[in-house]
Each structure stands twice: as C-alpha cells, then as structure tokens.
Symmetry: C2
Subunit: 409 residues, 2 copies
C-alpha cells in the first residue's frame, strides 16, 4: 500500500503544478474518471447556453434572417479558422462540414486529380502520367480504407494498403496519393508526419492526413510540414459534441487546383446566383458542399472557446506527462503480465492515448466502467484510454491505474 | 375597401373551418407572416427543451454511453422511419444523414451502377450495356445539377440537361438514370412523379427524385409509384432546423444492389468489427456514411412530433386552399400587370408555394419584410412565398396579399 500512497502523493504534486489544471472547470464533469475523450469529448460548460440561444433566438425568432445576421452562412470557414491554429495552419485553409468519411473522399479524389492534372484526370476516369495508385494506411480506422477504396475505384486507380512504416518503400512514380493517420486509433502510435510527407512529396505524390486522433492533443504543424490535404473530426479532443462536423484542410497554394468530387452549391463562386454552370469559389470555400448543419456546427464553435489562451504545446506537454504517469501507475498496480502496452514508449511515437492489450478486454472494460473509470474497448482485445489534457488530471490517472489493478487482481 | 373587408371576412371563415388550425400552437411564431417555411421551417415548441436534454443530459452526463442508451447510433434509420409515412414509404427504406447534395451523389452514382450492373460499372469507370447518359432536370436547384455533373464524370457518363417535359422524348436505351425535382424550387411547379417515373422505367433506366420542396407539403407516394431512389432535405416543410440532415430513400428491392460511392463505417454490416474489408449492411443502412451529427438529427426528431395524428392528405388540401386564396388576394389587391404568377394554376401542377415574377423583386421583398411579411427573393426577378399548412393561416395569406398590394401601389 505504500506504493498507492506514493503514486497518490505524486499525482497530487503533479496536479498542483499543472498550469492547465484550471481548465477543468470549463467542462461538465462528475465523479467519473472520463478517459474516453478520444471518442467523445466532455461537454464544455458554455455550450448548452449557446445552443439554446441558437435554437430559441436565432432559429425560433430571427428564423431565415439568421443566415446573414447570425453568421450561419459563413460558419464553415469561420470555425475552420478557429481550428486552424490548433493544427498549425494559417487562416483561410480549413472549412468545417460533413463527416470525416465524406471529407476523406473529397480530399483523396482531389489529391488524385492533382496528381494527374492535365493528363486525363479531368475526365475523372483514371489519372494521367502513369500515376494510378493510392497508398492507404493498412492499420487505419476502417472507414478511411473503405472510402479510399471508393476513391480509387472512381478515379481508375488501384488501392494498395501498406503500413506507415512501409510507405517510403512503397512509393513510386505510380503513386498518386497517400492517405495516412497521424495517430493510430487503436494503438495510439504517432506517425512521422513531417518525414512521411517529405517522402511522399519526393515521389511526386500528394499526402492526405487524417488528424482525428491528434488534433487538439498535440502539435500537427500542417503548414510547417507542407501537408497537402488533411481531414479530421471535431468530437474527440476538440469536444464539439456527438457527430459534430468534420473539417477539411487544403493547403493555400493547392486550392486553385482543388477539384471537388462533391461540388455543391455552397462551394460555388456565387452560391445565390443559381447558375446552371458550376464555378468553384476561391480558396478553402471550395471544400464546402451543401447546407451546413448549423446546430451541430455552432455547438462546436462554442466548444472551441475553451481553447482561448491555451497553446497546443502546453497541451502536448501535459498529454505526455499524463500518459507517462498512467504507464507508471499501470506498471505499479497491475500484476505482471496481465496487460501489454501497444502504445509506444517513445514520446515521439506516442499520441494522447494508451492502448493496453488484455485478455477478455470487453469484460474488463465493463468492470472498469462499473467502477467509475470510463475508457473504451476495441475489438478484439484492446483497452483504450484517452487523455484529454484540458480536463483530465493526474489524480484521475492514478485512480484509473489503481482501479485497473484492482479489476485485474 | 369593400374588397378588403370581403377577403378578410373570407379569411376568417376559412380559418374557422380549418381543421389543422390548432397546429399553429405547436410552433414558435410572432406577429410576422412567415411565408419562408419552404426555405427554413419555423421552430416547433418541443424542440428547444429536447435539444437541451440532448446537450446537458445525453452528452454532458451520459457522454459516450448515449450512443447506445440514448439511441444515438440508430437515429438515422429511426428518424428515417418517422419521415417514411410522410413521403409514402414503408419502414426500412429511408436513412437520415448528410446534406441533400451528398445524398444526390450517393443516389445518382448508385442508380448508374444499378443500370450498368454486371457490365462494367463494377469498376466504376463507365456503365455497361450502352447506358452512358444521365438526364438531369435543367430547371433544377443548381446543386443537383453540379452534383449530377460530378456523378456523370466519375462514372464515365455524359450529362444531358433537359426540362422535365422533355424527359419522355429524351429517354433512350442510353439512359442510365434520371434526376428530377418533384417541385421546382423557383416556380413551385409540381412535376408528374408517377408519369415520369413510369416513363423512365419503360426506358429501362432509374429514377432519382429530389423531394426538397414537396416532402411535408403534399403526398409523394414513393412506394405506390415505384420510385427507385429519392432524397430530400428536412429543414423546409419538415421544420428540422437550419441545415438539419437530409435523407435518402432506396426502394426495398433495390437495396441489395445499392452500391454506395461513400461506403463509410456506419454502413458496414459490422461497424464495430473494424474490419479492413468493406461489407455493406443490409437494407437502408447502407445509405449511411460517417458518424451522424446527433444534435441536428435529434432536433429534427423532436420537430417531427408535430406530425403525430396529421395526414399528408389534409395538409395537401389546406396547402391548395392557401395558395388558391393567395392568388385570389393577389388578383384583388395588386394593381393589374405588376406581377405575373410563375406557379401553375392547375392543382395537379402546383406545389405549396407561389412564385410571382415582379420587376425589382429584390427591393419589393425588402419592403415586404419591413412590413412584416417574410417571403424570399430568387434571382433575378422572383418573389417566392411558401405556405406551410401546419402553421400558416388564411388570415396570414390575406395580410400578405394586402401588404404586397400596398407595396406595389
């Protein structure tokens, strides 16, 4: 039991020194240790009142006028600009809207068309210049693979699943585009975005990054590393709410060549001109499609206010401290050999979650939840714990490790 | 002025006899005559409280558990089944989610693939059996045309814009699919869904109908008329709120052949199996894509409660009475020659709106709105007035006609 006292004491010290500790008050939390913010972020306290205003006043009272007066029409790009600094992007390159899956489709088809520009891709049937292959992360969250399959099929490309480590060796002058995850949803492994992007570019192809499990948890550096296109969801570390809209990043210099497979009226240069011919809007706007889902989108906008004055670097520092401490607690509390970490020990390879392989993981997670520690289970044998630095403290981490130890003892 | 007294008296009589009159109390309304429900429906009184519960309790307190316990995961098909009777569909054929534009893309690509099944469309590059043409309503709301252009480009088809009247003559054994609007967004003309669907089928092609301006305003009869695929928005006559998710109908017997261009994990037969290979779910579920936008979707679900006990036939009867009476008021109040109705006089050809061509329509609409009558302006010269039978009364109609007469005198 001295080990418990020691780690509990250490947690107290870490919490006392935590410069982000006060942010916890910006979220609705209870006695539960919530380590599932990498699936659905907790509710920021400012959201319910804002949503109520959107519903009662903006919709109920102003009604149609709100498209202009309440800023509904420009929400996708305005909120995109609010997300931009969190992923290292200058303004004017991100629009919010649609699901991650739909944005993967837009990004990947557009990337293939960029790769084949001027040589056949204009017809949408195959790309030119011999570039007819899409590489996709074989360890990806499955929807990315399914959508990549469709993008390949519809552009006349073949799809080649490879692990991120195999990408450099798989690149060739046949490669049109590469779809990669910044952090693996299952293992929590952080992939080398700068290095892989550079390798893709060296091969003359385009890199599309899925930021679902990194945005809001660690620096991404989209502009700095020359990423071509990126997508991400907003309901994990960005706390936008269930199914809040995803976003699409198109690097500024590529925007004139962004040729969307979903050219809806919201991406038209003159959306209210009702012209029969499609003329794409300039800039990031051409990533928009149809009418944006205003309630979900404005809930997200209110949720993003918790980031005011917070740097992603401080979030990253705390995230690593949290996962380090969790691994320490697991090592101390869990009997030898009962779990195995799938998450890399090296900081440079770790996202903001810890995945533990564990026999009967589904049952174990059920018991953890019964005992007030919420993580999630990933088929077939993974316990997944997400650490959102904005509201998870070191005391939570110690308790989670301790309860896990009790359940497994 | 005796004319005013006479029409005001008639309005009072019609309102007194209106069996749907009490439904007005189910909406948040004020002194404004709101004739823009064909753009954004008014707020149903039950929505704010429900949304607040979704945000505070389901998200804020239950958090991730709500995917199961609050029915989030099954919302797309559950709400689809709630919409189904309003468009004449049996259960199990509609899923809610994504924007109308995205659903047009799904439906049209799937239709083309059905038309070419077994003869090349499997590769996504061109359809087989010589069917390589998509017909699209040339008078359509533009986004349908833009998306149809993309669907054509990505399936190797050509796109041929024709007016609905020209469709029968344009059909041939080259036609793969036809995209039509049930009610024209600009003129309010109701097209012959049964007749055109039959003609499309006779040519061996597939009919995709856009119901944005008819669902919730008049009987559609999807099942009865053998429509293949249909899409529609939910924020007009269905009052789902700004940008509430659209829906997709796939006729039951076609579902096994529905081959989506957006095969996201939500349409997988085993979505939590995280399998690398895509296996589509059975039934309408395969129209789903990514994580549904829960806040917007559950606001829609609450909004649909106003339909309890209401038949679409009674709505249609009142809708025609409203537009008849509006045309009568316009004829009486507006000086001869100042406006011209673009909306057909025949009931069989009229939706639930009246479009008046009017010089300087933009300015005229501005003055109408200043005087408490809200319709909308459609480029270049159209005043558009939508009549939602659930909350618009005959007194509103008389006042709108009278104010229009004053503005134009």
């Amino acid at each position: 039991m001295s080990e418990v006292r020691e780690l509990a004491f250490k947690a107290g010290e870490l919490d006392a020194a935590d410069e982000l500790g006060e942010l916890r008050g910006k979220f609705v939390l209870d006695e539960v240790v919530y380590l599932d913010g990498n699936s659905l972020g907790a509710l920021p306290v400012g959201v319910p009142g804002h949503v109520d205003d959107v519903v009662r006043r903006q919709w109920g009272s102003l009604r149609i006028r709100s498209w202009g007066e309440s800023g509904w029409w420009t929400a996708p790009e305005r909120i995109g600009d609010r997300i931009a600094p969190l992923v290292g992007a200058a303004a004017g390159q991100i629009v919010v809207g649609d699901s991650t899956s739909v944005n993967v489709f837009k990004a990947l088809v557009a990337a293939v068309r960029m790769a084949g520009a001027g040589a056949g891709a204009g017809a949408g049937v195959g790309v030119g210049a011999g570039r007819d292959e899409i590489l996709v992360d074989a360890t990806t969250f499955p929807t990315d693979g399914y959508i990549a399959g469709s993008a390949a099929r519809m552009t006349g490309c073949s799809l080649r699943p490879v692990t991120p480590a195999e990408v450099p060796g798989a690149l060739s002058d046949r490669t049109a585009a590469v779809l990669l995850n910044h952090v693996d949803y299952r293992t929590g492994r952080l992939h080398d975005l700068p290095g892989l992007t550079a390798a893709v570019h060296e091969a003359g192809a385009y890199a599309v990054w899925d930021l679902c499990h990194s945005a809001g948890a660690l620096p991404v550096g989209l502009d700095e590393h020359g990423v071509d296109l990126a997508v991400g969801c907003t309901y994990k570390y960005l706390n936008g709410g269930p199914g809040s809209p995803a976003y699409l990043y198109v690097r500024r210099d590529l925007q004139p060549r962004f040729d969307s497979p979903l050219p809806g009226w919201n991406s038209h240069a003159e959306p209210f001109g009702m012209r029969p011919e499609y003329t794409p809007a300039p800039g990031a706007l051409r990533g928009r499609v149809g009418t944006p889902d205003i309630l979900s989108m404005l809930a997200l906008e209110a949720a993003l206010e918790v980031w005011d004055g917070v740097t992603i670097e401080s979030v990253r520092a705390k995230s690593l401290a949290l996962t380090d401490f969790f691994l320490e607690c697991v090592a101390a509390y869990v009997p030898e050999g009962r779990v195995e970490s799938l998450t890399p020990g090296a900081h440079t390879e770790r996202g903001s979650q810890v995945a533990l392989r564990c026999p009967r993981a589904g049952d174990v997670m059920k018991r953890l939840i019964e005992n007030g520690v919420v993580g999630d289970f990933r088929h077939p044998d993974v316990l997944r714990f997400g650490f959102t630095p904005l509201y998870v403290g070191f005391g939570d981490v110690e308790r989670a490790g301790r309860v896990l130890g009790e359940v497994l003892t």
